[in-house]
Protein backbone atom coordinates (compact mmCIF):
# COMPACT_ATOMS: atom_id res chain seq x y z
CA UNK A 1 0.00 0.00 0.00
CA UNK A 2 1.37 3.43 -0.84
CA UNK A 3 0.58 6.79 0.63
CA UNK A 4 0.81 10.05 -1.25
CA UNK A 5 2.66 12.70 0.67
CA UNK A 6 2.85 16.36 -0.24
CA UNK A 7 6.48 17.44 -0.53
CA UNK A 8 7.58 19.43 2.51
CA UNK A 9 8.62 23.02 1.81
CA UNK A 10 10.49 23.72 5.05
CA UNK A 11 11.53 21.68 8.09
CA UNK A 12 12.81 22.39 11.59
CA UNK A 13 16.41 21.22 12.03
CA UNK A 14 17.86 19.78 15.26
CA UNK A 15 20.25 22.77 15.53
CA UNK A 16 17.33 25.23 15.76
CA UNK A 17 17.52 26.40 12.17
CA UNK A 18 14.98 25.87 9.41
CA UNK A 19 15.79 23.88 6.29
CA UNK A 20 14.38 25.43 3.11
CA UNK A 21 13.49 22.86 0.49
CA UNK A 22 12.20 25.17 -2.24
CA UNK A 23 13.38 24.65 -5.81
CA UNK A 24 15.35 27.40 -7.58
CA UNK A 25 12.31 28.08 -9.78
CA UNK A 26 10.09 28.71 -6.73
CA UNK A 27 12.74 30.95 -5.18
CA UNK A 28 12.88 32.96 -8.44
CA UNK A 29 9.11 33.24 -8.41
CA UNK A 30 9.17 34.55 -4.82
CA UNK A 31 11.82 37.11 -5.73
CA UNK A 32 9.76 38.32 -8.68
CA UNK A 33 6.64 38.57 -6.51
CA UNK A 34 8.49 40.65 -3.94
CA UNK A 35 9.89 42.95 -6.65
CA UNK A 36 6.50 43.31 -8.28
CA UNK A 37 4.25 43.73 -5.23
CA UNK A 38 6.44 44.99 -2.41
CA UNK A 39 9.08 46.99 -4.30
CA UNK A 40 9.36 50.75 -4.06
CA UNK A 41 7.84 51.42 -7.50
CA UNK A 42 7.04 54.86 -8.81
CA UNK A 43 4.67 55.76 -5.99
CA UNK A 44 7.29 55.13 -3.31
CA UNK A 45 6.66 53.70 0.17
CA UNK A 46 6.60 50.15 -1.25
CA UNK A 47 4.47 47.81 0.78
CA UNK A 48 3.54 50.46 3.36
CA UNK A 49 0.95 51.82 0.95
CA UNK A 50 -0.99 48.56 1.29
CA UNK A 51 -2.22 49.60 4.69
CA UNK A 52 -3.34 53.22 4.38
CA UNK A 53 -3.44 55.47 7.42
CA UNK A 54 -2.48 54.08 10.82
CA UNK A 55 -4.78 56.46 12.66
CA UNK A 56 -7.53 57.63 10.30
CA UNK A 57 -8.89 59.95 13.01
CA UNK A 58 -6.00 62.43 12.85
CA UNK A 59 -5.31 65.02 10.19
CA UNK A 60 -1.56 64.43 10.11
CA UNK A 61 0.06 61.10 10.84
CA UNK A 62 3.10 61.09 13.12
CA UNK A 63 6.12 60.88 10.78
CA UNK A 64 7.99 58.79 13.36
CA UNK A 65 5.22 56.19 13.30
CA UNK A 66 5.24 56.12 9.49
CA UNK A 67 9.02 55.76 9.52
CA UNK A 68 8.68 52.93 12.06
CA UNK A 69 6.25 51.11 9.73
CA UNK A 70 8.52 51.52 6.71
CA UNK A 71 11.51 50.31 8.73
CA UNK A 72 9.61 47.24 9.93
CA UNK A 73 8.52 46.36 6.40
CA UNK A 74 11.84 47.05 4.69
CA UNK A 75 13.63 45.12 7.46
CA UNK A 76 11.76 41.87 6.87
CA UNK A 77 11.99 42.24 3.08
CA UNK A 78 15.75 42.75 3.32
CA UNK A 79 16.20 39.63 5.47
CA UNK A 80 13.97 37.63 3.15
CA UNK A 81 15.70 38.64 -0.07
CA UNK A 82 19.19 38.20 1.38
CA UNK A 83 18.38 34.63 2.49
CA UNK A 84 16.24 33.60 -0.47
CA UNK A 85 18.85 31.30 -1.94
CA UNK A 86 19.91 29.76 1.40
CA UNK A 87 19.42 26.07 2.14
CA UNK A 88 18.90 26.80 5.84
CA UNK A 89 17.84 29.92 7.74
CA UNK A 90 17.72 30.90 11.42
CA UNK A 91 14.45 31.08 13.34
CA UNK A 92 14.65 34.88 13.25
CA UNK A 93 15.07 34.79 9.48
CA UNK A 94 12.16 32.35 9.36
CA UNK A 95 10.00 34.97 11.07
CA UNK A 96 10.95 37.43 8.33
CA UNK A 97 9.99 34.83 5.69
CA UNK A 98 6.67 34.43 7.46
CA UNK A 99 6.06 38.19 7.45
CA UNK A 100 7.00 38.60 3.79
CA UNK A 101 4.71 35.71 2.81
CA UNK A 102 1.92 37.55 4.62
CA UNK A 103 2.81 40.88 2.99
CA UNK A 104 2.63 39.17 -0.41
CA UNK A 105 -0.75 37.64 0.42
CA UNK A 106 -1.93 41.09 1.56
CA UNK A 107 -0.73 42.60 -1.73
CA UNK A 108 -2.47 39.89 -3.73
CA UNK A 109 -5.80 40.30 -1.95
CA UNK A 110 -5.50 44.08 -2.30
CA UNK A 111 -5.11 43.72 -6.06
CA UNK A 112 -8.17 41.43 -6.07
CA UNK A 113 -10.12 44.23 -4.38
CA UNK A 114 -11.01 42.29 -1.23
CA UNK A 115 -12.51 44.43 1.52
CA UNK A 116 -11.50 44.11 5.18
CA UNK A 117 -13.68 43.91 8.22
CA UNK A 118 -16.38 41.46 7.20
CA UNK A 119 -17.00 38.50 9.48
CA UNK A 120 -15.57 35.34 7.93
CA UNK A 121 -19.03 33.92 7.22
CA UNK A 122 -19.94 36.95 5.09
CA UNK A 123 -16.58 37.62 3.43
CA UNK A 124 -16.20 36.94 -0.30
CA UNK A 125 -14.00 33.98 -1.20
CA UNK A 126 -10.99 33.98 -3.48
CA UNK A 127 -11.57 30.70 -5.27
CA UNK A 128 -8.60 28.74 -6.48
CA UNK A 129 -6.00 31.43 -6.22
CA UNK A 130 -2.93 29.22 -6.49
CA UNK A 131 -0.43 31.86 -5.42
CA UNK A 132 -2.32 32.91 -2.31
CA UNK A 133 -2.84 29.24 -1.40
CA UNK A 134 0.81 28.36 -1.99
CA UNK A 135 2.00 31.26 0.16
CA UNK A 136 -0.45 30.13 2.84
CA UNK A 137 1.04 26.65 2.70
CA UNK A 138 4.54 28.09 3.09
CA UNK A 139 3.34 30.14 6.08
CA UNK A 140 1.68 27.15 7.64
CA UNK A 141 4.87 25.10 7.38
CA UNK A 142 7.02 27.98 8.69
CA UNK A 143 4.69 28.33 11.69
CA UNK A 144 4.99 24.59 12.28
CA UNK A 145 8.79 24.69 12.08
CA UNK A 146 9.03 27.75 14.37
CA UNK A 147 6.70 26.07 16.87
CA UNK A 148 8.82 22.93 16.79
CA UNK A 149 12.01 24.93 17.38
CA UNK A 150 10.41 26.88 20.24
CA UNK A 151 9.19 23.80 22.10
Amino acid sequence: MSFWRRPQLVAAMPDGNIEIKLSPAVRDLLKNLVDEHLGEGEAGNGAAKLFGPINPGVEFEDPLVLLHRETEISGVIEIFTSTLSASAISAEEGEAWLAVSQLLRTALIASAGIAYGLPHAEAPRLDDDGLIDALGLLQSELLGALGEIES
Binding site: P119, L126, G136
Partner: protein, 105 residues
Protein backbone atom coordinates in the same frame (compact mmCIF):
# COMPACT_ATOMS: atom_id res chain seq x y z
CA UNK B 1 19.53 66.59 37.23
CA UNK B 2 17.25 69.60 36.81
CA UNK B 3 16.30 70.49 33.24
CA UNK B 4 17.78 73.79 31.98
CA UNK B 5 15.28 76.49 31.00
CA UNK B 6 14.72 76.65 27.24
CA UNK B 7 16.44 80.05 26.89
CA UNK B 8 19.70 78.53 28.25
CA UNK B 9 19.85 75.88 25.51
CA UNK B 10 22.50 76.19 22.83
CA UNK B 11 21.90 75.85 19.10
CA UNK B 12 21.82 72.23 17.95
CA UNK B 13 21.16 70.89 21.44
CA UNK B 14 18.47 68.24 21.56
CA UNK B 15 15.41 69.37 23.47
CA UNK B 16 13.19 66.72 25.00
CA UNK B 17 9.68 67.73 25.93
CA UNK B 18 7.33 65.62 28.02
CA UNK B 19 4.52 64.25 25.86
CA UNK B 20 2.05 66.16 28.03
CA UNK B 21 3.56 69.45 26.73
CA UNK B 22 2.90 68.47 23.12
CA UNK B 23 -0.51 66.86 23.29
CA UNK B 24 -3.63 68.62 24.49
CA UNK B 25 -5.08 67.68 27.86
CA UNK B 26 -7.87 65.83 26.06
CA UNK B 27 -5.36 63.77 24.04
CA UNK B 28 -3.23 62.75 27.03
CA UNK B 29 -6.26 61.51 28.94
CA UNK B 30 -7.76 59.59 26.04
CA UNK B 31 -7.10 55.93 25.36
CA UNK B 32 -6.83 54.44 21.92
CA UNK B 33 -7.70 51.00 20.58
CA UNK B 34 -5.61 49.04 18.15
CA UNK B 35 -8.15 47.33 15.88
CA UNK B 36 -7.33 44.17 13.93
CA UNK B 37 -9.40 43.65 10.78
CA UNK B 38 -10.54 40.39 9.23
CA UNK B 39 -9.84 39.34 5.67
CA UNK B 40 -10.85 36.14 3.90
CA UNK B 41 -7.41 34.61 3.40
CA UNK B 42 -5.13 35.23 6.39
CA UNK B 43 -4.42 32.08 8.37
CA UNK B 44 -5.98 31.99 11.82
CA UNK B 45 -2.76 30.48 13.16
CA UNK B 46 -0.82 33.43 11.73
CA UNK B 47 -3.03 36.00 13.47
CA UNK B 48 -2.53 34.12 16.76
CA UNK B 49 1.24 34.07 16.18
CA UNK B 50 1.31 37.84 15.52
CA UNK B 51 -0.64 38.56 18.72
CA UNK B 52 1.78 36.44 20.74
CA UNK B 53 4.81 37.97 19.01
CA UNK B 54 3.86 41.67 19.12
CA UNK B 55 1.95 41.93 22.41
CA UNK B 56 3.50 38.96 24.23
CA UNK B 57 0.00 37.61 24.90
CA UNK B 58 -0.46 34.02 25.97
CA UNK B 59 -1.91 31.41 23.64
CA UNK B 60 -5.45 31.59 25.06
CA UNK B 61 -5.76 35.38 24.90
CA UNK B 62 -4.27 35.45 21.40
CA UNK B 63 -6.71 32.81 20.20
CA UNK B 64 -9.66 34.60 21.81
CA UNK B 65 -8.83 37.87 20.01
CA UNK B 66 -8.20 36.00 16.75
CA UNK B 67 -11.62 34.30 17.00
CA UNK B 68 -13.31 37.67 17.57
CA UNK B 69 -11.64 39.02 14.42
CA UNK B 70 -12.74 35.90 12.54
CA UNK B 71 -16.37 35.94 13.63
CA UNK B 72 -17.06 39.67 13.98
CA UNK B 73 -14.77 41.12 11.34
CA UNK B 74 -12.69 43.14 13.79
CA UNK B 75 -11.41 43.07 17.35
CA UNK B 76 -9.61 45.34 19.79
CA UNK B 77 -6.14 43.85 20.16
CA UNK B 78 -4.71 46.44 22.54
CA UNK B 79 -5.81 49.62 24.36
CA UNK B 80 -3.63 52.38 25.74
CA UNK B 81 -1.88 55.63 24.94
CA UNK B 82 -2.11 56.93 21.38
CA UNK B 83 1.61 56.95 20.62
CA UNK B 84 2.07 53.36 21.82
CA UNK B 85 -1.01 52.20 19.93
CA UNK B 86 0.30 53.75 16.72
CA UNK B 87 3.73 52.16 17.11
CA UNK B 88 2.14 48.78 17.83
CA UNK B 89 0.07 49.28 14.68
CA UNK B 90 3.26 49.98 12.68
CA UNK B 91 4.66 46.68 13.96
CA UNK B 92 1.49 44.79 13.05
CA UNK B 93 1.60 46.29 9.53
CA UNK B 94 5.22 45.16 9.31
CA UNK B 95 3.94 41.63 9.83
CA UNK B 96 1.36 42.08 7.07
CA UNK B 97 -1.89 42.31 9.04
CA UNK B 98 -4.46 45.06 8.53
CA UNK B 99 -4.86 47.17 11.65
CA UNK B 100 -5.80 50.72 12.53
CA UNK B 101 -5.84 52.91 15.64
CA UNK B 102 -8.98 54.63 16.85
CA UNK B 103 -10.00 56.48 19.96
CA UNK B 104 -11.62 54.21 22.53
CA UNK B 105 -15.36 54.72 23.02
Amino acid sequence: MAEQPLENKTAGEVITLPLADILTEEETDATYDLILWNDPVTLMSYVTWVLKRVFAYGKEKSQRIMMTVHTEGRAVAWTGARVEAEHYCAKVHGLGLMATVERSE
